[in-house]
């Protein structure tokens, strides 16, 4: 599979001290003017903020991603939990129901930025994000879009007590993350692999658990490190382990900042 080139990557990462038995590093609810956002949930607003950050990173105006040439792939393992709980506990009011659908998070992005191309929504952790990058590469390679956005939002605070009661379900601290990756056609090589081996996720060396957002945080870290060369991303969720080998040589991306430039040096 031909690898895509990275045009921009926005990443918002929660902050905290990591103290306590079940720590959650949180992201504040972004403030966004406009009546339309009065009812919008925190996860929706974080998605919009991640796209803003991506545009800033790519030094591009919002019009650059508008239209049916842009595909949008959304991945989450947990972001719907907050809105679902709010509705179940009747805190959101009757009009809140629409916001319980995972599809609403990318919908807010589509509405706000005029993105009307192909879309997909995968539910799961890090392996699903790696699969989404692979799907985006295929959409680009097959000419089904001109650019593809991989959007990931993971928030935990609203369901923090549930995660705390199921400490063994996840790793700690939980780090809220919203990220959006902008991909265009490139010339390197991309290889996705996935296995289900029945083993639980290993305890991480540090940095916290971000569920589906982990690979994009790793990608951002790799880019910021500036060491170049092929990228190896991996992730685990439940009993699935997935890896993505991403060689970005000979990329023709218009913007050669970050990953691409370093890999060409």
């Amino acid at each position: 599979m031909r690898a895509p080139a990275i045009r921009g990557l926005g990443l918002l990462s929660g902050t905290g001290s990591g103290s306590g038995p079940a720590p959650i590093w949180t992201l504040a609810r972004p403030d966004r003017p406009g009546d339309r956002f009065r009812r919008a949930t925190r996860e929706c607003l974080l998605a919009l903020a991640a796209v803003d950050a991506m545009l800033e990173d790519g030094k591009a105006p919002r019009e650059a991603i508008a239209g049916d040439g842009t595909a949008l792939l959304y991945v989450t393992a947990a972001a719907y939990g907050a809105s679902n709980r709010e509705f179940i506990e009747r805190r959101g009011g009757v009009m809140h129901f629409a916001y319980t659908a995972p599809a609403v998070v990318p919908a807010e992005v589509a509405i706000e930025f005029g993105v009307t191309g192909a879309y997909g929504i995968l539910i799961g952790g890090a392996p699903s994000t790696l699969r989404a990058v692979d799907q985006a590469a295929r959409l680009l390679d097959e000419g089904r879009c001109d650019r593809a956005l991989v959007l990931v939002v993971e928030i935990f605070e609203e369901c923090g007590d549930l995660y705390a009661r199921h400490r063994r379900f996840t790793r700690w601290p939980l780090v809220e993350t919203a990220a959006c990756l902008w991909l265009e056609r490139g010339d390197g090589e991309l290889r996705f692999e996935s296995t289900r081996d029945g083993r639980r996720a290993p305890v991480p060396p540090g940095g916290g658990e971000r569920f589906a957002a982990g690979p994009l945080a790793d990608l951002r870290e790799w880019r910021d490190r500036g060491t170049g060369g092929p990228i190896e991303l991996s992730g685990r969720w439940r009993d699935e382990h997935a890896g993505l080998h991403w060689s970005t040589e000979r990329s023709h991306a218009r913007d050669t900042r970050g990953v691409i430039r370093r890999s060409e040096r």
Binding site: A103, I121, L122, I123, G124, L162, F169
Partner: protein, 393 residues
């Protein structure tokens, strides 16, 4: 570009409000049976509308040993049990690591979360409340060890799942994929649609001028997909193409011109390498809401051109209610059964056509026809539009 790998739907299995297996489902569609009834499994006395397409009998399984008491999971496994009977397998006759599961859902295991938060369920069931919980349970029941993918493109989820399954096979990530959709009627979704006031107290009347909204239903619908070159034995049909597009308009309302659905249909036809002239039958999303049916009619006219007026178009939601994540998969199976049996099921409760919905919506009785190329359309919350192109066996 080379010829894409052809992917067959070898067999299908269902559990629905009108029949607990594929044959019963088909017979009920053809004979005009309605699956709408008073909802009994969950409390509805405080809701404006208390009817829906509830599954009264969960297939043939007597012993649910090892399967949690989770409605969504059991709908999936009941459909899988029917699929196994249709396809005559289980245990799987393949390397389990090469068998994948792809399911589409609008609600996942949310009822488990609802119960846990309400104190009705032990909280250790928390992982089942996640949207990907039922899909993982299904994989375990099947003994499948390949990729397990959950997609949630609202009411287009079943179509997205079938298309994702075809992709897995084309990319050689699996040799067989069990794919489809499911959703359960639960307090969560009934209360939500009750609040939106989109449920009708009348019959569900797709494309009828008196239509006044939808009713919800529940179902499980699964197919076995394999590469055609690997298939030994009969098949129901072929997945030729898929297209999707966002409305980018509103989180809950469809875009009034139907441009999103039109783009999805065009993309699906292009993916299938067929022209609008090749389409012989359309299974419409047809929810019977005032907006949906008008918008869908307009989108089909633009996407198919003059052919839109020449082909039969039906909606089976009058019989089933809107089965959410299962809807598109059930509609795809209905298309393939229509081609196989030479009959197109009628649009139940369509009696007084809406002048703005002026296509051939197969009112009243089944239509004798043997379509070869079929289009199935879906629209969902968040402006998700999906279209599948299928070919008869």
């Amino acid at each position: 570009m080379g010829t894409p790998e052809r992917v067959a739907i070898a067999a299908a299995g269902v559990v629905t409000p009108i029949g607990a297996d594929l044959e019963a489902f088909w017979s009920a569609l053809i004979t005009g049976v309605s699956g709408i009834s008073q909802i009994e499994r969950v409390r509805v006395d405080d809701l404006r509308v208390q009817r829906g397409g509830e599954v009264k009998k969960l297939g043939r399984i007597k012993d649910w040993c090892g399967v949690p008491d989770c409605r969504a999971t059991r709908l999936l496994i009941a459909a899988a049990d029917d699929l196994c009977a249709q396809a005559a397998f289980r245990p799987l006759p393949l390397d389990p690591a090469r068998v994948a599961v792809v399911v589409g859902t609008a609600l996942g295991g949310v009822e488990e979360g609802e119960k846990a938060l309400g104190g009705d369920r032990p909280s250790r069931r928390f992982p089942d409340a996640l949207y990907d919980g039922p899909g993982l349970r299904l994989a375990r029941w099947l003994g499948a060890r390949g990729p397990v993918i959950t997609v949630s493109t609202a009411c287009a989820s079943g179509a997205t799942a079938l298309a994702t399954a075809a992709d897995l096979l084309r990319r050689d990530e699996a040799d067989a994929v069990v794919a489809g959709g499911y959703d359960a009627l639960c307090r969560f979704v009934l209360r939500g649609f009750n609040a939106l006031r989109s449920l009708t107290r009348d019959e569900v009347r797709p494309f009828d001028r008196r239509r006044s909204g939808l009713l919800l239903g529940e179902a499980g619908a699964l197919a076995l997909l394999v590469r055609e070159r690997d298939l030994r034995g009969p098949r129901l049909g072929t997945v030729l193409g898929y297209g999707s597009a966002s409305d980018g308009f509103h989180i809950a309302a469809p875009e009034p011109s139907g441009r999103g659905l039109e783009r999805a249909v065009r993309a699906a036809l292009a993916d299938a390498r067929v022209s609008p002239r090749d389409v012989d039958f359309v299974s419409a999303h047809g929810t019977a809401t005032l907006l949906n049916d008008r918008i869908e009619t307009a989108a089909l006219k633009r996407a198919l051109g003059p052919r839109a007026h020449e082909v039969p178009v039906n909606s089976i939601k009058g019989a089933l209610g809107h089965t959410m994540g299962a809807a598109a998969a059930l509609e795809a199976f209905m298309c393939l059964l229509s081609a196989q049996r030479g009959l197109i099921p009628p649009t139940l409760h369509l009696e007084e056509p809406d002048p703005e919905c002026d296509l051939d919506y197969v009112p009243g009785r089944p239509r004798a026809a043997r379509p070869r190329i079929m289009l199935s359309t879906s629209m969902g919350f968040g402006g998700c539009n999906g279209a599948l192109v299928l070919e008869a066996a």
